[in-house]
Each structure stands twice: as structure tokens, then as C-alpha cells.
């Protein structure tokens, strides 16, 4: 793209200089943000970065907990303006979208037609470009795999401006590398996704309160075949015999005809709760009182109440939850992360660990004990079952994941990182993995250990081939992979 051409000029008017922050607020940097509206403007963005000899980081709605979409040394491309839903095939449930379309845009468009995205994250805000790049998973990972399994095709703009259309059988390498490639190979601009037929606006949700970790794992293992969604919540403060106590929610789709009034329940209005609790308390202000409880004693209290409420819930019959309610628990309280503090240096990280089935119980028992001993206890613990998938840099294993939300404060940051590094050792020793959408603590030596050597080498080779100037970079890339040329020299 020559200088002064139209897309470049248009782009120059849609730029801003912002503090680009990790979702968990524990990292961030000032950057120029570019907001392309089409492929031409994506090319112009790449060209702008090339002209200024700075790296370009890719970002959607910035929902990665860590630094996956932060680029402190250059420009940031924000894909959100490309958010058109291009087509939806109501016969087969195939959606074609521009990649800045969010999970929320998608479900609102397709649910009234009787479909639900095959894989969604715990929040509905991520863009599908980000979801594909991080290869997100949902509470049904054990059954259907990550979002990559639902992607039939995508367009990707390579750093040299070339547009490639990838499918499983066309540019297969790039297909399997770019999904989960955390935005390091190109800018995904268009996606074709398979969605799932649903026969009602809600799920039947069974609740089960477990006394300890083993019981939770047993339940989830036993119900893998019948449940469509399985998610465990762990009270990380509970020790002794109750170590790992918590709740399992087991969600099941309705059979055809089971929902008496799908016309109503499939509407977006039915799916979402109003902005107020009991009609009067605005949810948007809830983070303020939550801030008062955002400490060890407060969370100990909340967790205890939640656990015992869960025991009551578990005694009752299955309850109907709408798809949106069940899937997007994290959206229930807007800006809840602010309860972790809003000043710089405060926030949260999520440390999500993936451990193979055989080792999981032992490793997770050890992790919980160590957290309690170190008095660095996660305020939220979420437990899920996973299965492997064919993507090169996948985080999934045939086993379990335990995601831990840790509060970050300036005073405790160093101790927290050290703590996480200790836990990282346990996970890696057991053959486990981590997930870049959640990460802010991994080091280069950890990443080398977590991927099969051939997959990692192939990925870096593809990166060097498609992006020899390393135009696409983020803080995450520099933290865990470092400059490619240094790696080449080292090896």
C-alpha cells in the first residue's frame, strides 16, 4: 500500500493513543490503537507499522487476562470495527462473520433461529478473532473441544499483506497453527463457524455439591457421557478433609419438544436478566460493595455461604437456566474486576493449569495445599474437564484444568509471581500445560517444556517464514518467546 493511499488516510483518522490494558489490569502499556474496517485497512495498518519499524500487536475486546493483546513497544490493531455478520445458513447452522464480531453479537443473531455457538467462553465479550487466535474453550471442552473445532474456514491477512483462506484441507498447516497461534501469524479477518442446533431457550442444570476434590472429579468423570456442559467451582479456602470442596454444575440441552414455548425462550430478551436485581439494585454498581469483601476474610465468608447454598441447591431438582445465564456467568456483574481495585498495580491474574488425567488429583491437591500454606489463596477456582485437539499450540490435554484467580497488589506481586512459578513446576513436571489467554507469569523455559518439541519448532518455523521481520508481536510474545533471531542463535 503506497503512502497517502485512501485506506491509510482513513485509518489515520481512526487512531487513538490509549492505555492498552490486560483484562486483569495487572499489565498494560500506552500504545497507538488502529481500528481498521476492512481488509484494505488491515493492510494499511501493517504498512504503517512497517514504515515506522515497530511491531504490531493484535487485539479484540481485550478480554485476555494477561498481556496477550498488549504491545508496549509498538502499535495495536483493534479488530472490533469489523463486526458484521455476513451470512447465516439456517439449514445447516453455518455462520459467516467478520472477525471482530463478538460472541455476544453472534448468539444474539443466531439463537432466535434456533442455534447456539458450539463453543463460548465464560464471558460473551470476546471477539471471534480473539477467540480463534487463543483457541478458547468452554464448559463443554470435554465433549466438543475448543472453538477451533467449530471453525470451518477463515481468512487471514499475512504480515506481507497477502490474504489466505484456510480450511482443514487448504493451507492445513496455517489452519492448525493460526488457531491458537495467539495472533502471531496474521490477522484473521473473516470466519466461518459451525453452530449447534438447540431446541429450547434453556438448559436443564443439575447441581451437585462435593465434599472434596476426589468427589468432584468422580462426578465429572462419571457424567462426561451424559452432560453437555460440566463446570466445577472450588472453595479454595476450605482445608483439611474439605480440601477441594465445591459445586459442580451439569448442564444439558433440551430434547425437541421439551421446551413448551421455544418461540419465546429463544429470544434475546428472554435470555438476559435485566440490569437490576429485584428491579431496583443496579448491577453496574455491584462492584463497589463487592470491593469491601475482596479480601481473604471476605472471600472465605462468600465461599462458605456459596458452598452451603450449593448444598441446598444440590438437593433440589434440576433447574432451567437460559443459555446466556449459564454460559456467561462472568458477565453477571458488569466490571466485577474493579472490585480487585482500580489503581495502577492492582488487579487480578488468572492462573489456569492443565494437568493430564492420571496426575490431576495429586497435583491439584498439592496446589491447593501450597496455596493455603503460602497464604496466597485464589479468590475464585474453576475446575473443568478437557480433551486433546489437533491444533499446534493447544493448551488442552486429556485431563483437567484448574483456573485460579489471584488478587494482585503492588506489595504482593513479587511473592505471587514466585508462588505461581512454584506451581508451574508442579504442573510441568506432571506433563501439564498453560493457556495464553490467561497467562501473565510464564517464562521462556516453561513454554519450551509445555509443548511437544516438534509442534513448537514447526510453529516457530512458520512464524519465521510468514513474518520474517517479526512484525506481529505482543508483550506476551516477547515475554515467552523473545525475538526469533535470539532463539535461532541459541539453537
Amino acid at each position: 500500500m503506497a503512502e497517502g493511499s485512501v485506506p491509510g488516510e482513513v485509518l489515520a483518522q481512526r487512531r487513538s493513543y490509549e492505555f492498552v490494558e490486560a483484562w486483569g489490569m495487572a499489565a498494560g502499556a500506552h500504545s497507538r490503537v488502529l481500528r481498521p474496517r476492512n481488509v484494505e485497512e488491515i493492510r494499511a495498518s501493517l504498512e504503517m507499522a512497517r514504515r515506522e519499524s515497530v511491531p504490531l500487536g493484535l487485539r479484540g475486546t481485550g478480554n485476555s487476562y494477561g498481556d496477550a493483546s498488549v504491545n508496549g513497544q509498538g502499535l495495536v490493531l483493534d479488530i472490533r470495527r469489523m463486526n458484521r455478520i455476513l451470512a447465516f445458513d439456517e439449514e445447516q447452522g453455518i455462520a459467516e462473520v467478520e472477525s471482530g464480531t463478538t460472541v455476544r453479537d453472534l448468539w444474539k443473531h443466531i439463537l432466535p433461529k434456533g442455534y447456539w455457538p458450539q463453543v463460548v467462553s465464560g464471558t460473551s465479550f470476546p471477539t471471534l478473532a480473539g477467540a480463534a487466535a487463543m483457541n478458547i474453550h468452554g464448559k463443554n471442552n470435554f465433549a466438543v473441544g475448543p472453538i477451533g473445532e467449530a471453525i470451518r474456514e477463515f481468512d487471514i491477512v499475512l504480515p506481507n499483506g497477502e490474504l489466505r483462506t484456510c480450511r482443514r484441507d487448504q493451507h492445513s498447516d496455517l489452519f492448525h497453527a493460526a488457531i491458537g497461534g495467539f495472533g502471531m501469524l496474521g490477522v484473521i479477518s473473516r470466519l466461518v463457524l459451525q453452530t449447534k442446533r438447540v431446541h429450547g431457550g434453556y438448559l436443564n442444570v443439575h447441581a451437585f455439591a462435593n465434599h472434596d476434590l476426589a468427589e468432584m472429579m468422580e462426578y465429572m468423570q462419571a457424567h462426561r457421557g451424559v452432560a453437555d456442559y460440566l463446570v466445577g467451582w472450588i472453595d479454595c479456602f476450605a482445608g483439611g478433609d474439605g480440601l477441594g470442596r465445591g459445586l459442580v454444575h451439569d448442564g444439558r440441552y433440551l430434547a425437541p419438544g421439551e421446551d413448551p414455548d421455544p418461540e419465546t425462550t429463544l429470544t434475546a430478551a428472554y435470555q438476559e436478566l435485566g440490569p437490576n436485581i429485584f428491579g431496583v439494585i443496579p448491577k453496574s454498581e455491584l462492584w463497589r460493595p463487592m470491593r469491601l469483601l475482596n479480601n481473604d476474610w471476605g472471600l472465605r465468608f462468600i465461599n462458605t455461604v456459596k458452598y452451603w447454598m450449593g448444598r441446598l441447591e444440590g438437593m433440589g431438582p434440576p433447574k432451567p437456566w437460559t443459555h446466556a445465564e449459564f454460559s456467561f456467568l462472568l458477565d453477571y456483574v458488569p466490571n466485577w474486576k474493579w472490585s480487585y481495585g482500580r489503581k495502577h498495580g492492582h488487579g487480578l491474574i488468572q492462573f489456569q493449569t492443565f494437568v493430564p488425567h492420571e496426575a490431576a488429583h495429586e497435583v491439584y491437591t498439592d496446589i491447593l495445599r501450597r496455596c493455603q500454606r503460602a497464604r496466597i489463596v485464589p479468590y475464585l477456582g474453576v475446575f473443568k474437564r478437557h480433551r486433546p485437539d489437533p491444533f499446534w499450540l493447544t493448551h488442552a490435554v486429556d485431563g483437567w484444568s484448574f483456573a485460579m484467580d489471584f488478587k494482585v497488589t503492588p506489595a504482593r506481586r513479587e511473592a505471587l509471581w514466585k508462588h505461581c512459578h512454584e506451581l508451574t513446576e508442579l504442573v510441568l513436571d506432571a506433563g501439564g500445560k498453560f493457556y495464553f489467554a490467561k497467562d501473565l507469569v510464564l517464562r521462556p523455559e516453561d513454554v519450551v517444556r509445555m509443548y511437544p518439541e516438534d509442534k513448537l519448532e514447526a510453529f516457530l518455523k512458520l512464524k519465521a517464514e510468514l513474518d520474517p521481520e517479526e512484525r506481529l508481536q505482543t508483550d506476551l510474545w516477547r515475554r515467552v518467546f523473545g525475538p526469533l533471531r535470539d532463539r535461532a542463535r541459541a539453537s
Binding site: 487512531r15 493513543y17 492505555f19 492498552v20 498494560g28
Partner: protein, 268 residues
């Protein structure tokens, strides 16, 4: 004198504002309140970027601030810029923020008030006022708002005028431009309140600047230095709207209460 310059510069204590959080941008800094604000900020150890159309005045300002800044560890840089060149602003804003190493305070002090005759309806003159007073304000405060919102920190100060309180015979579009500025700043304040960003609207009365030179019937006239002190005081106390000096508040109150059919007959 030489010993004074050799001692380490010491920024004066300002409650709640650590030395590393003193980075300011003043738009419309070549004279009047803008210049006074730059001088005061430099004396407080701020790194200030001063923007204006007239480069000689800016240079003079920079030189006059140099000793103050050297004593406090502050710094004044200047840039020639015409606020009506809105297309240039996003890039210039970024350049300045990079140079300052961040931004904590932006003051929009640019404003023009050409004399308008009683029977004059000069669209060009009027549009110029709108462009400098209103459009320029929006074009500069928008990028600042975007930055401050995302960093959840920062203060925006807009120097409006008591003239925005009512539509007066004397200079209809000046009043309009300031009323628009008031509403814009109020909206910005409401929008950014959730992000801990403060927006302060300043409504000065008569200040002894070029704008008021040769005007009749001036009273309660204060110097730009007095005004700048009051302005920064208000901004730091997170005041929403401040008349400067404060007693103009009563004038503003009365002005706003006068019914239209009476106001029409008054020569104000």
C-alpha cells in the same frame, strides 16, 4: 546564583500529586490564562507542553519559564499548532504524550472573542469562534478523554466563560460556543466519572488578558496569575464547575434566573 542552580531541583509539595504524576498539556498557551497556567505548572515541577498558534510568544514563554522549571525539576516544551487543524490532532497528541512520558492534566485554554458590532451578522467571524472555542475543545479533549478513560486517571480542564450561561445580545456566537463547551464538558464528566477521570469546567469572569483589553465596564478584574491559581485549585479539588473568581458564581446564578422576557430588555 551558581550555587542555586547546582542544588538538586526540588519540586514543591503538592498534596496528592507525586512528582512523577506531573505531566500537563496546555492548549492555547501563548498569552492570558494559558500562559499563566504554564508558568504556574512549571513552577510546580510539571513537565508541560504548551501549544499555541503564535510561535514567538511561545518561545518567550518557554524562556521566561526556564529558570522556574530548572529550580523545580519541571520542564516546558512548546509547539506551534492551530486548533482548527483538527486532522493533525490525533498524531500530535500522541507525539506530545510520548514526549512527556504520559499525561495527567490537559487544559483547553484556547479561545477567541472578536468584537461583534450591534448590527453585525458575520458568519465567517462566527464560524471562526465556533471552530476555535468549540470544535478545538472537542478535538483536543476527545483524545485526552480516550487516554484518561483507559488509564482510569487524569484531569481535563476546560476554560469556558460566564458568557455561556445565557445568550446575550452582545456576541451571540461567543455565548453559543461557550454554552456548547459547558454542555460538552458536563457530558464528558458524566461519561468519565466511572473511570476516576475528572472534568472541570472553568467559567471566568473578567480576567486582565488580551481578550478584555479595551473593553468598557470591567469590574472584579483579576490578573491571569490569580486566575490560574484558582483554576488549578478547583481542578485539584475535583470541583465540577468553578466561577473564577468565585464571587462570579452569584452573578451566574442571578443571570440564569432572570426570565427571558426581562433578560431581552437588559443591556447585558
Amino acid at each position: 546564583m551558581s550555587t542555586a542552580t547546582e542544588t538538586t531541583p526540588q519540586a514543591p509539595r503538592l498534596a496528592g500529586i507525586p512528582p512523577e504524576k506531573r505531566r500537563a498539556l496546555v492548549v492555547g498557551a501563548s498569552s492570558g490564562m494559558g500562559a499563566a497556567l504554564v508558568r504556574q505548572l512549571a513552577g510546580e515541577g510539571y513537565r508541560v507542553c504548551a501549544l499555541a498558534r503564535r510561535s514567538e510568544e511561545l518561545e518567550a514563554l518557554r524562556e521566561s519559564c526556564a529558570p522556574l522549571a530548572a529550580a523545580t525539576g519541571g520542564q516546558v516544551s512548546v509547539r506551534t499548532h492551530d486548533v482548527t487543524d483538527t486532522a493533525a490532532i490525533p498524531a500530535l497528541f500522541e507525539e506530545i504524550v510520548r514526549e512527556l512520558g504520559g499525561l495527567d492534566l490537559i487544559v483547553y485554554a484556547a479561545g477567541i472573542m472578536p468584537a461583534v458590532g450591534e448590527q453585525e451578522f458575520d458568519t465567517r467571524k462566527d464560524v471562526d469562534m465556533l471552530r476555535v472555542n468549540t470544535e478545538g475543545c472537542v478535538a483536543w479533549c476527545n483524545p485526552a478523554a480516550e487516554l484518561f478513560q483507559t488509564q482510569r486517571e487524569g484531569t481535563i480542564v476546560g476554560i469556558s466563560s460566564i458568557a455561556g450561561d445565557r445568550g446575550r445580545k452582545g456576541n451571540p456566537v461567543y455565548c453559543t460556543s461557550k454554552a456548547a463547551m459547558n454542555t460538552y464538558l458536563e457530558a464528558l464528566r458524566n461519561r468519565l466519572g466511572d473511570y476516576d477521570v475528572h472534568v472541570c469546567t472553568i467559567r471566568p469572569g473578567f480576567v486582565d488578558t488580551k481578550m478584555t483589553q479595551g473593553m468598557d465596564g470591567l469590574f472584579w478584574l483579576i490578573s491571569p496569575e490569580e486566575a490560574s491559581k484558582a483554576i488549578l485549585g478547583a481542578a485539584r479539588n475535583r470541583v465540577n464547575v468553578r466561577y473564577v473568581p468565585l464571587r462570579w458564581m452569584w452573578v451566574g446564578l442571578v443571570l440564569r434566573l432572570i426570565p427571558s422576557f426581562v433578560f431581552r430588555r437588559l443591556s447585558i
